[in-house]
């Protein structure tokens, strides 16, 4: 793999950038692989990379119906944090966080992981109880974080209205300094490039239309453009489309695919230096290195595969942003879009074996899986390599929805008296 560096850049400048190698080959698929990963998003590509890098399994294909990283990876607001409540999930997301911290070097690709800190605002007494609970749990799990009061928040985000004026004044926040954002496309491309360099075949514009099952065992996939491709093991990492693939294999998942929307402002001069999230007024916002405000909307209540949602959802989000930041009222929205999020009843992922042998699923990340990309790939690779759930994956079996061992990350329900 051609090494990237500032010096290399200079060198190529002299030859007018005519000699850059391809970031990845665009090969034709072989007939047979040890492992097929369905889904070339961040998670699928990371899985392929770690399969090759950590487990030495290089006879791997990633099959992507569109372009690499074109699904939710291309659509997300790129917030990375690990301050989850329950031990099982905190462990998983913190595992990912540690990988993030060395990812650019690991991949020799600058994923622009920017640890500018994440604030989760509290607007009610119950919000604050939940924040205290979570931050305490995080601390004892070795995850950084503290609870801030409005004055401390104001210092970090001077432009936000931390006064008592708003309808739901800010009472406090949890603060994870190691949290931040990353360049979503670079994450997909970095993993793709590194996986390709280790021999993984990246097959784009190739949709899996059926999963071939012989006496209870998955043996390959049928595709729309490349016919049948066989494999000893198949891992589906198809996010919003997971139920569609499960249906091909003849079972259901505890998932619903919903539109989740986001939007960006026009690029403006730097004015917001951290990530601000508010579940209560319902909006989250950060500013990208290009200057646009990246804003996440609420989820649309209906099922949808259209990569777009309803306008009033956007309205509510913008109202929340203007409520938090009255100074942004005159800033303008440049573009809005949507993704398809695979929501799980307990807001935790599924990394799991399935009723079909040799067929594994990594899904259910819903509205929050970008932050997990390296961890998800790492853990799923271990699972595929071993042919059974790795220890970190175990709690996330799809069968927890049978015995009831849910890991409810919705946090406390709305408080009531």
């Amino acid at each position: 793999m051609q090494k990237y560096s500032g010096f290399g850049l200079l060198k190529h400048a002299l030859t007018h950038h005519e000699n850059w190698q391809k970031v990845w080959r665009n090969p034709l698929p072989k007939k047979n692989y040890d492992v097929i990963i369905v889904g070339g998003g961040g998670h699928g590509l990371a899985t392929a990379y770690y399969l090759a890098k950590v487990h030495g399994i290089t006879n791997v294909a990633v099959i992507e119906k569109g372009y690499l990283g074109g699904g939710n990876t291309a659509r997300n607001t790129t917030i990375v944090r690990s301050n989850y409540l329950w031990d099982e999930s905190a462990k998983l997301y913190e595992h990912a966080m540690k990988l993030w911290e060395g990812l650019s070097q690991e991949l020799n690709y600058n994923v622009m992981f920017s640890q500018r800190g994440v604030l989760n605002l509290g607007h009610t007494l119950q919000d604050m109880r939940d924040i205290e609970r979570r931050v305490n749990a995080n601390r004892l799990n070795g995850i950084d974080g503290e609870v801030l009061n409005p004055q401390q928040i104001q210092e970090i985000v001077p432009m936000m209205d931390c006064s008592k004026k708003p309808r739901y004044p800010i009472l406090g926040a949890s603060w994870q300094p190691r949290g931040g954002v990353a360049r979503h496309d670079a994450v997909a491309w970095g993993y793709a490039r590194a996986a390709d360099a280790l021999g993984v075949d990246l097959i784009q514009q190739c949709e899996v239309v059926d999963i071939i099952i012989e006496d209870g065992r998955a043996t390959g996939v049928m595709t729309n453009t490349q016919g049948v491709i066989s494999a000893a093991r198949i891992g589906c990492v198809t996010a919003g489309n997971s139920s569609v693939l499960a249906d091909m294999a003849g079972f259901k998942l505890p998932l619903e695919s919903h539109p989740l929307q986001a939007l960006v402002s026009e690029p403006i001069k730097p004015i917001l230096d951290t990530v601000v999230m508010s579940n209560h007024v319902h909006g989250y916002i950060s500013q990208s290195d290009k200057g646009d405000l990246v804003i996440g909307a609420g989820i649309d209540g209906y099922n949808g595969y259209g990569q777009r949602g309803s306008y009033h959802t956007i309205e509510h989000t913008v109202q929340a942003i203007v409520e938090l930041f009255p100074v942004f009222s005159r800033v303008r929205m440049n573009r809005q879009w949507g993704g398809i999020v695979d929501t799980c009843p307990d807001a935790c992922p599924i990394i799991s074996a399935t009723p079909v042998d040799n067929l594994f699923f990594n899904c259910g990340w819903g509205t929050g899986g970008f932050k997990a990309t390296p961890g998800s790939g790492h853990v799923f690779a271990a699972t595929l390599a071993a042919g059974k759930a790795s220890s970190m994956a175990e709690p996330f079996s799809m069968f927890r929805f049978h015995d009831g061992a849910l890991i409810d990350e919705h946090g406390a329900a709305g408080v009531a008296h």
Partner: protein, 1008 residues
């Protein structure tokens, strides 16, 4: 000299009205009718900004929404700053203050640009990803500098003083664009009596006709426009919206129209007027008549100020009577652009040459006219490179082959200061793509046109690649007729097709990128996307590196990411990518257009739903009293509930202690009106309760109340409350304040979808009743003061009874139930009387030191009794047994009530679940923070083994020590054991596990 480039006559200006404005601190003048851009050009301002990445000087290129360069900061005061305003769309007004958004120290001389060339060499697309990685620790520093370069304009730092509002509209036909096509549609629609909305982003209706010299029915096109506008004005059901951009086209024909009400008058709206208004329109049919944007050609240094779109040059001359230069070189791939050269020479300036890239050249008729004007026309020629830095000084041209991919002759120079180019037209298909429909490439018009839509959508005019005025008019009428008939209306008078002369044009040439003598990678920069400094070389590099999907090319190069969303550059970029991938344009396809068509102010999207109106505040009938008596409030759902009632000089703890002691020692009063109340009637009401609550209801007698737990099908508690049996088929259920709506919905969904055979009706009476809770040893005495008729002695009115009584002349239902553990009565009166009764109770209660208390004291009092609060002590993962409330689960009920099966699942009955217990701290004064996590061994190393968290924790003034409710793994088996709560400061609070009932376990106090 002022307005050097202004012609002495012509244009749609009111020259009697001079307007003064300032740009970068200098003052200039223009006329009413000018845009900021036309005024700047009139004043010979070449440089309007510096480019984002290479900080190259940039000038005005276009005259409308497609402008990539002239992005201004506008606003006279801090609070009224507007970033990123397109000068070509900003009408000039008195005192307009504009500044360029990039360039340091200024746009004329920019430091970065000195780096520019070297800089640009090491800044190919994606260079970020290839560097700044080593040493790892440096990334933060690198990023600081990257961020410094970010952004165009700046956000205000003061809150917006203006108001924005929404208008919900319903129409039969929405027409987007008021050019010849749109106006024709509108006329048909209006005459049919349809409800019509026609919106156009420009200040005036007319579209391309605003700067066209064409004739309609023998008269200047704008006279035809004026007639139609006048007629449309006659119809009450036709709404004409100029200065209104249809920014989004959503599912089921919902469109949003962003109307700028006052941006053309000042940077701040008049008092009580809205600065901008968002029309939220639901329409039976939508007709897109959005026209087309001219496509520039891509050639070396095509970003030097003086390089413009051909049609833009015509617009400035004809509409604004501004000639943006002296010597013009026109390069075109089509006949139409010749008009620009004709306009230029009509304005008395020199046309150096028309370089027609087509070997066969233009039609005889056009050439004839050129000849007449003495304009030199060179067929099969193209501009290869532009010279000059801050303004075009000359161009290099050369012969080019018929396919446009090779230079076939010597390169020679032409001196000029303006280069107009036209590569044909790109229909404004943006809106048609918003609901997911993919455009179709048409070789004959060399453009993408709208694909087949699922919406009730029609298109007319240039958006269809129909470029002759005659066709646009005809298509407009046709679209109107189709829409009208689809709606079931008819036009009485037929529309006479306007007659216009159509000139036969020669076929245009499919050319996008002019080759250079050097390879693209070595040639001077050939810009595709001016705003994001995306070059032809950059796009070729992206494909060379393996980014074969056009979506990858977009994301790798940032093409089309700008505030113009690639209106000028996208098609050229796609063509260049396609070529270097040896594919056709349809094969590489397009990226997706999404809302917004042009950027929309956040304020306009938010409307009035911010500030005090962000979310409703719900008040009880006694709210005014709470305000007057100094209550502080807690947000619970939408409700504002009294939190506590501090007296002068008290801190919160003192207030709570006072309130608690008053209740335990004498009497307190709580406004409990916010609790959800559901009236339940019907022969199956009792059966229904048995199914939705975990406990038994079969035997609850009339006149009695009972507490109930509500679970989901998963067996997890989600609400609780007391329900009273009012009569055989009649109950009233109370829910938590926050849970009221959810519970009612819950009951309805089961009744309507699962058990429709059960005859029962649910009605919310939450707002109908005011509930006044009097509690404490003297509660009865207080009640006796206000109850007119009935005997409320312990014998006559038992715990968990309810009775009808008259309170101060007002009929009431009184429930003897207790959430404090004290003798308690809840007075329910019709809310219109709530305030009076509350006042009476307060008045008569004085002698017993009757003390009003809020939610916080209520929390403490109930915690002393170990009563849970659903939502605070539960989180959707605890079942009744976890809470030690198995007593509230009746498994004897024949029907498998909601939650029963759920709480029997393997995980719910397994050992080691977290269970609700009480806690007493070793140090009685120490209060464990709510949310603290328990461990057995405070010295265990991280990650520690957590046993569960504290859900409720207070200092109990009555008990003289702190109390807490908490979850502990296996807690019910661990009574008396010690656990530790590690704090952030490294200390650990030691606590002993106990029963959560801290006060009066036998419940005697409430039975007196």
């Amino acid at each position: 000299m002022a307005q050097q480039n202004r012609l002495t006559s012509g244009g749609r200006l009111d020259r009697s009205k001079v307007i003064n404005f300032s740009y970068n601190g200098q003052s200039y003048s223009g006329f009413v009718g000018d845009t900021l851009a036309s005024a700047m050009l009139a004043n010979n301002i070449d440089i309007v900004g510096r480019s984002f990445k290479y900080s190259r000087p940039r000038g005005i290129v276009a005259a409308g929404a497609e402008e990539p360069n002239a992005i201004m900061q506008i606003g006279a005061s801090e609070a009224t700053q507007v970033p990123n305003v397109r000068a070509t769309q900003q009408e000039l007004y008195h005192g307009l203050v504009a500044a360029s958004t990039n360039g340091w120290p200024n746009v004329e001389f920019d430091m970065m640009s000195t780096l520019g060339d070297l800089g640009s060499k090491v800044m190919p697309p994606g260079f970020y990803y290839k560097t700044f990685m080593y040493p790892k620790s440096m990334w933060n520093t690198y990023e600081k500098y990257i961020r410094k370069a970010a952004g165009l304009g700046r956000s205000p730092t003061e809150a917006d003083p203006d108001r924005y509002d929404h208008y919900n509209q319903h129409a039969d036909i929405v027409i987007v664009g008021a050019g010849p096509a749109g106006l024709s549609t509108a006329l048909v629609a209006a005459r049919s009596g349809a409800r019509v909305i026609i919106a156009d982003e420009q200040a005036e209706f007319g579209g391309a006709l605003l700067d066209s010299k064409e004739l309609i029915n023998g008269e200047p096109a704008m006279q035809w426009v004026a007639k139609i506008v006048a007629e449309l004005g006659q119809y009450p059901d036709v709404l004409m919206l100029p200065r209104s951009t249809v920014n989004g086209y959503h599912d089921h024909n919902f469109v949003t129209i962003h109307q700028r009400c006052s941006d053309h008058i000042a940077d701040r709206a008049a008092k009580n007027a809205s600065r901008q208004r968002m029309h939220r329109v639901r329409s039976k049919w939508v007709v897109l008549a959005t026209g087309a944007h001219e496509r520039p050609l891509v050639f070396a240094n095509n970003d030097v100020p003086g390089c413009m779109l051909a049609c833009a040059v015509s617009t400035y001359i004809n509409r604004y009577s501004v000639v943006p230069g002296t010597q013009l070189v026109l390069m075109t791939t089509n006949d139409n652009a010749y008009t620009t050269a004709f306009d230029w020479s009509a304005a008395g300036r020199e046309v150096v040459a028309i370089l027609d890239c087509r070997v066969q050249g233009a039609s005889a008729k056009v050439l004839e006219k050129a000849k007449l004007l003495g304009i030199k026309v060179l067929n099969g020629h193209a501009v290869v490179e532009v010279h000059g830095s801050k303004r075009v000084t000359s161009v290099s041209m050369s012969k080019i082959n018929s396919t446009g991919d090779k230079l076939t002759g010597e390169v020679s120079k032409l001196s000029c200061d303006t280069v107009a180019s036209s590569g044909g037209w790109s229909p404004a298909i943006h809106l048609s793509c918003h609901t997911g429909c993919r455009p179709i490439w048409r070789d004959d018009v060399i453009a993408f046109v709208p694909g087949v839509s699922l919406q009730n959508q029609l298109t007319a005019g240039a958006i269809n690649g129909a470029y002759s005025l005659a066709l646009c008019l005809a298509q407009g009428v046709e679209a109107g007729q189709i829409a009208v008939t689809k709606i079931g209306l008819a036009i009485t008078e037929p529309i006479a097709l306007a007659n216009v002369e159509t000139v036969a044009e020669n076929l245009p040439m499919a050319l996008f990128h002019i080759p250079h003598t050097k390879s693209t990678s070595r040639a001077p920069k050939q810009f595709v996307d001016l705003q994001n400094d995306v070059t032809a070389a950059g796009i070729e590099l992206a494909t060379l590196e393996g980014f074969e999907s056009i979506e990858h090319v977009k994301r790798y190069t940032a093409m089309g990411f700008g505030t113009d969303q690639g209106k000028l550059g996208n098609i050229n970029g796609m063509a260049i990518a396609a070529k270097s991938l040896n594919k056709t344009i349809p094969q590489t396809g397009t990226t997706i257009f999404r809302p917004n068509y042009t950027p929309v102010t956040f304020g306009a999207i938010a409307g009035r739903h911010c500030g005090g109106l962000f979310d409703p505040m719900r008040y009880s009938a006694m709210h005014q009293w709470h305000l007057e008596n100094g209550a502080l409030f807690e947000d619970v759902g939408n409700w504002k509930r009294p939190w506590y009632f501090p007296k002068a000089g008290e801190n919160m703890q003192q207030t709570l202690a006072r309130e608690c002691l008053a209740v335990r020692e004498s009497a307190g009063v709580l406004d409990a009106s916010t609790l959800g109340k559901i009236d339940i009637q019907g022969p199956d009401a009792r059966e229904f309760l048995g199914r939705v609550y975990t406990n038994a209801w079969a035997k609850l007698a009339v006149g009695k109340c009972r507490y109930g737990l509500m679970c989901g099908e998963d067996g997890m508690v989600f609400d609780d409350g007391v329900t009273a049996c009012l009569a055989e088929n009649h109950f009233i259920m109370t829910t938590t304040t926050g849970g009221a709506a959810r519970v009612l919905q819950w009951l309805e969904i089961y009744q309507q979808t699962e058990w429709p055979e059960l005859e029962v009706y649910f009605n919310s009476v939450t707002d109908h009743f005011s509930t006044i809770t009097v509690t404490g040893p003297n509660a009865r005495k207080v009640l006796e003061e206000v109850v007119d008729d009935i005997d409320i002695s312990n014998q006559e009115f038992k715990y968990m009874d309810w009775k009808v009584a008259t309170v101060q002349g007002i009929p009431a239902r009184i429930f003897r139930i207790s959430f404090t553990g004290e003798l308690s009565f809840e007075i329910n009166v019709q809310a219109n009387y709530g305030m009076r009764i509350w006042q009476a109770v307060m008045q008569r209660g004085k002698q017993y030191n009757l003390t009003p208390y809020g939610t916080e004291t209520m929390h403490i009092l109930r915690a002393e009794k170990g009563f849970i609060i659903a939502g605070q002590d539960t989180d959707g993962s605890v079942n009744p047994y976890d809470l030690g409330m198995g007593w509230a689960v009746s498994n004897k009920k024949p029907f498998s009530f909601i939650g029963k099966r759920g709480m029997q699942r393997a995980d719910c009955v397994k050992e080691g679940r977290k269970q609700m217990v009480g806690l007493k701290t070793k140090n009685p004064r120490q209060v464990i923070p709510e949310g603290a996590q328990a461990v057995d061994d405070p010295h265990e190393s991280i990650p520690m083994t957590m046993l569960g968290h504290v859900t409720s924790s207070y200092y109990s003034a009555c008990l003289g020590h702190s109390i807490a409710m908490a979850f502990i793994r296996n807690g019910h088996q661990r009574m008396g054991e010690t656990v530790f709560y590690p704090m952030a400061d490294g200390s650990a609070i030691e606590a002993i596990i106990c029963s959560p009932v801290f006060l009066d376990p036998e419940g005697e106090r409430q039975n007196v």
